[in-house]
């Protein structure tokens, strides 16, 4: 089994790139891939990738300096940025992965595609540079899942 997980909030503009990608490939995803959209809450991620051989996670990322729409690919084992917040409000993918590993529920392989965001303000719809990155992102994700 493989899992494709879009992380984000579609009501915060480019933060919705993960959910948008999942919606975009819903028809064309290869068999044996479960699709899910999560808001980043760690226990949801634990369930979404539980027991899979490969989990592909798509998320938005803020960079400084930023090139909106640029796609970064990282894998489990790469140096992953540690969570900077000690608050339960700010647990992210690295914390979820840490917890999953401790619980023996990490996916065998984890690939994260992070898309640089331009706009994380209120509202639906992706900014132009992020929307324009969607075809490339789709191809990369489908190649990864093939």
């Amino acid at each position: 089994m493989k899992a494709l997980i879009g992380v984000g909030n579609e009501f915060r503009r480019d933060d919705g790139v993960g959910p948008a990608l999942v919606a975009h490939v819903a028809e064309s995803a290869p068999p044996g891939v479960t699709l899910s959209v999560v808001d980043g809450e760690p226990s949801q991620l634990l369930d979404a990738w539980d027991g899979v051989q490969l989990a592909v996670v798509v998320d938005a990322v803020l960079c400084d300096p930023s090139t909106p729409g640029r796609i970064h690919r990282t894998t489990l084992g790469d140096a992953y940025p540690a969570g900077t917040s000690a608050s339960t409000h700010g647990l992210g993918i690295p914390d979820a992965l840490g917890l999953a590993e401790a619980l023996g529920r990490a996916p065998a392989r984890l690939v994260v595609f992070a898309v640089e965001a331009a706009d994380l303000g209120f509202g639906t719809g992706l900014s132009q540079p992020v929307a324009e990155a969607l075809p490339d992102l789709t191809r990369l994700v489908l190649d990864e899942l093939a």
Partner: protein
């Protein structure tokens, strides 16, 4: 700084919701200062609610907290319905209580297992704990999931539910929708009872508080989503008189307001609720509490983890009862036409009493809003506890004393994000 002077500093408290710090100053064995410094910026919710419709406060204030959004919604819809003179039917009221049970289960499970248990077992965080105690952490996550399942089904989603509205719900689940939830909750109830038994075996520092308690009381049942206010001193008053008794004031070291009850610091939350209302728990929850060594009251804040576990078992038991007795409200909501009036609402957020007051104009626009969250009400009591704990453990070295101070603060599951309106600890020994 002389050798008799100590200063403890925690610059960013871990395992709390939001950002805060603690600064303790000790001189010649006397605790001179114990400041809980809340430096999260103010959030101005009360200001930007002005001019919004009476139907919007429910969704806007939900955003104050990702852990207890239902508490904000419940206090808001109650205040609006109070202002507009509308009483919802019992079926809507029962579905609201079911939703609120979901939040208690989810929030309490999170605090017990991921935030508080590491203190008792000597781990820095839940991830390290999970490496040694996989089954325990899985149990906590499974309980939290059961709470989230209620929130998702009844509320539309687990965080910031979208289905509740002033007057009721946009849509009400069918009995068939609730059936799978009941199966999940029966399993969670076993886990919760095992949790009560397990946390009761922890070592608890001796500390008995002689503090006034404030909680809601519902004549019919253990108060969660509504009630009148009662205190351990025997005072009882309606929610509309909240601000006559509870007065907020500013302190220089915090962006959250402090509060007093008739001029004195007080405590709200699980210890207050349990001590004032334990007789109203379900037989199953009372039995679990008794087996765990709790009497009818509990005044040791370190034992709050046991009380939370009992309340979690109760909330699951109660959710099962509500599902069993469920009658689908139809329609799922009643109209709440606005009028120029003032409305008050209060509910028992997982951390304690959450009060809202709104003043509406004839068109239902909010002219003024007051929100008093539990963490700000508890700040003065938390500081007093830290002071007592430090004074009682001056023999500890700075690292151990600091850890104990942090645990003391986590006894209250403070939600700093809600209150700013939390911990970096500094202890100064002079």
């Amino acid at each position: 700084m002389s050798h008799r002077s100590r200063q403890l500093k925690v610059s960013s408290l871990a395992r709390v919701e939001g950002e805060g710090a603690l600064h303790v100053v000790i001189e010649d064995g006397q605790v001179l200062q114990a400041d809980l410094q809340i430096y999260e910026p103010p959030r101005f919710f009360e200001a930007f609610l002005r001019g919004r419709q009476h139907t919007e406060a429910n969704d806007i204030t939900s955003r104050i907290c990702g852990i207890c959004p239902v508490a904000y919604q419940a206090s808001a819809w109650q205040a609006m319905e109070d202002a507009c003179g509308v009483v919802v039917d019992d079926r809507i009221a029962e579905l609201r209580r079911l939703l609120y049970c979901g939040e208690w289960i989810s929030s309490h499970s999170l605090h017990i297992y991921l935030l508080h248990v590491p203190d008792f077992l000597g781990y820095p965080d839940a991830i390290t704990l999970a490496k040694d105690h996989r089954a325990i952490v899985e149990r906590g996550l499974s309980m939290k999931k059961a709470g989230n399942a209620i929130l998702e089904l009844v509320g539309g989603r687990a965080i910031h539910p979208v289905n509740p509205r002033v007057g009721g719900f946009y849509s009400a689940p069918t009995l068939a929708d609730l059936a799978p939830l009941a199966a999940q909750l029966r399993h969670a109830l076993d886990d919760a009872l095992a949790t009560v038994e397990w946390v009761a075996t922890f070592d608890f520092p001796d500390l008995e508080l002689d503090r006034e308690f404030l909680a809601l009381r519902d004549p019919a049942r253990y108060a969660i989503e509504r009630g009148e206010l009662v205190t351990s001193g025997g005072l009882s008053f309606p929610v509309s008189e909240f601000s006559e008794h509870v007065v907020e004031h500013q302190v220089p070291h915090s962006t959250a307001l402090h509060a007093t009850l008739d001029g004195a610091p007080y405590l709200t939350g699980p210890l207050a609720r349990y001590s004032l209302n334990s007789a109203q728990l379900s037989p199953l929850a009372r039995e679990a509490a008794s087996a765990a060594g709790l009497g009818p009251t509990c005044r040791n804040p370190f034992r709050s983890i046991v009380v939370r576990a009992v309340e979690t078992a109760y909330a699951i038991d109660e959710a099962l009862r509500l599902i069993d007795a469920y009658e689908r409200p139809s329609p799922a909501w009643v109209p709440v036409p606005p009028r120029a009036a003032v409305g008050h609402g209060a509910s028992e957020a997982p951390r304690g009493v959450l009060y809202h007051r709104y003043e509406l104009d004839a068109d239902g626009l909010i002219e003024s809003a007051v929100i008093v969250p539990p963490t700000s009400q508890n700040q003065a009591a938390i500081e007093a506890d830290v002071r007592d704990v430090v004074a009682g453990h001056l023999d500890l070295d700075d690292a151990a004393l600091t850890a104990l101070c942090e645990q003391t603060i986590r006894n209250y599951d403070p939600c700093i994000s809600c209150s700013t309106h939390f911990l970096e600890l500094t202890v100064e020994r002079r």
